[in-house]
Symmetry: C2
Subunit: 351 residues, 2 copies
């Protein structure tokens, strides 16, 4: 229990926008996953791309120098490329320095900190610009108090980690907006924060402040406004359930959507822990979420069927609909049948 | 989800012992609560007391100078006194410096850090001694993996915060030892850590590492060895449930003891949240704890009846026994009837 002597105004991370996407020297698109994700999910934030001459990968934006990017209006220089071990590699450093000198702030989800890279550290001191680590939570987060907030909230939850909670939330937020509903996507992880331009990396918060961070992330809003909140972890995951629990309590969701990967049997990163059944996972989330929002309901299920054929995907989704009585969709999968089931899921969320 | 590139050996806080208890200039025993608690619960660790001439309070140990304390064998100089706002006050500083110069390490649960007190910071640099903050978790904690560990474990849980989880664990650990059972008290908060001489302040750990910290705190042990683990927070507390959940998962308790304060109706520090019923609180803890230890059971209930008469205490405890079918005891309350009920609770834990 943390005793707070003063409660300063808590803030979420708020990134300088729009972005120039930095692709480094990459020649393999899979290393530029972050840049492609930003281009797909936040096209309105992505102005130009910057890269070294060796790079052969493009996300399809105009290629500019950092100074041109700044002149065009860019304010954040996002490291949209990954290297071995999550490090900032030496060949990127001259262009990162150039970006700071052009007036851009660097946005990084790398494991290297600015202190690990002397040339970058010196450039920060010289220019007064920032290297913003999206894995680092804001200061001054409050302890949660459980006060009911106005507005509507949806949280994506899961039967395990890494099975589509972020993309489900993004797809639902996009669909809500397309239906004319005022909606914010609320990001709780580093990629989501870059996509939203704001958020809190909830798993990096000090334990006493998990639910307080979640409360800060989705503040009071208009009664018909929706926050669609990116879930983290899983209540049945022996490593991360504390994060999931605090996020569930602090989010006070009116609606949860259960994310699941069919045929996954074992919980990731553990020895012998089994993925729970959908009814068990839904029941425990509703029971726990009911503490801070007694009207919580599960509107439906989001399947990650990337590894399945159309036929297999339809079969497992139908079986899950029968088992749970809830709409089941894969929000990412293309094709008219799948679009239809996603429409049903969206309608069930907003019902 | 935190990606770990290397997993260095994780350690819990391990305090230099035995202690000299520092009482400052205090004239009111209530400000020396920490020192009295240490004297009561860890008498074998408490060698001498040190105080300023103005102090009128004593915990009953020989009063010595820091140099005499060191010569007598003391190695930790525990700030056992509190001041307004949890700060290190200026009048203490000369004796704190004297302690460092005598070769003692300072053990502090104060909100001031050593960086806030220039004279102390200089003395640390000069002497090479340490000021150990028991509110600060050790580095290199791992992500939990849920692997079943050998040995037996008991965790105290609660219907709310601040109703006796620490003292229940201490009393049970003492009773287990008295019964000839090899037992360690495992501390998760600052006072408990000072009493045990070791531990991890679990609510200050980064969210991703809660269950990993709990796993580190109670390592593999002999099959008939018991760890009695100090609980934190409550699963029904909208501020702290994430901590309680990770601690429950990582502790893998064979036995839980539910701590409760009769007549407390509202959850502390929240607006309108109600203390759950004992059956509800027990059921949710068993359900969640069952993930990492399917053989978990609730052995009984610990009541904090400090505010009640003997008659009232007996009445509410009997009623709770009838409601739950479990032994109910107040481990702190004196008197033969209460000692008897505590014996029953201890027997049920070890059964």
């Amino acid at each position: 229990m943390t005793i707070q002597f003063r409660v300063p105004e808590a803030k979420m991370i708020d990134l300088p926008r729009p972005y120039a996407l930095f692709l480094g020297d990459t020649t393999a698109p899979r290393y530029a996953k972050t840049a492609f994700g930003l281009k797909d999910w936040a096209p309105e934030l992505c102005l130009v791309e910057c890269a070294l001459p060796e790079a052969t990968v493009s996300v399809g934006l105009p290629r500019r120098t950092p100074a041109q990017a700044y002149a065009a209006g860019a304010r954040g220089f996002v490291i949209g490329v990954a290297a071995q071990g999550g490090q900032i590699v030496p060949q990127w450093v001259p262009m990162l320095v150039e970006a700071l000198e052009a007036g851009l702030d660097i946005i990084s989800g790398m494991h290297s900190s600015v202190d690990d890279v002397p040339a970058l550290k010196a450039a920060v001191a010289r220019t007064g610009r920032r290297v913003i680590d999206v894995r680092r939570p804001p200061a001054n987060l409050p302890v949660g108090d459980g006060r009911k907030r106005s507005g509507k909230r949806l949280l994506t939850v899961g039967t395990d980690c890494a099975l589509g909670k972020k993309y489900t939330a993004l797809a639902l937020a996009r669909a809500f907006r397309a239906a004319g509903v005022a909606t914010d996507f609320r990001a709780t992880g580093q990629t989501g924060i870059m996509i939203a331009g704001a958020g809190i990396p909830i798993d990096s918060v000090v334990a006493d402040f998990i639910s307080g961070a979640a409360e800060t992330l989705s503040p009071d809003a208009a009664p018909d406004h929706w926050d669609v909140i990116e879930g983290q972890g899983a209540l049945f995951h022996p490593s991360y359930a504390g994060v999931s629990m605090g996020l569930l309590h602090g989010s006070q969701p009116d609606v949860i959507v259960m994310c699941h990967e069919p045929y996954r049997t074992d919980i990731l990163g553990t020895a012998g822990y089994k993925v729970p059944s959908l009814p068990d996972a839904i029941a425990l989330n509703l029971r726990i979420g009911g503490l801070t929002n007694p009207r919580i309901r599960c509107a439906g299920i989001s399947f990650n069927t990337a590894d399945l054929s159309d036929e297999e995907a339809e079969t497992v989704m139908l079986a899950a609909e029968r088992e749970t009585g809830l709409p089941v969709a894969d929000p990412i999968r293309g094709g008219p049948a799948f679009a239809k089931s996603f429409e049903r899921l969206v309608a069930a969320c907003l019902a």
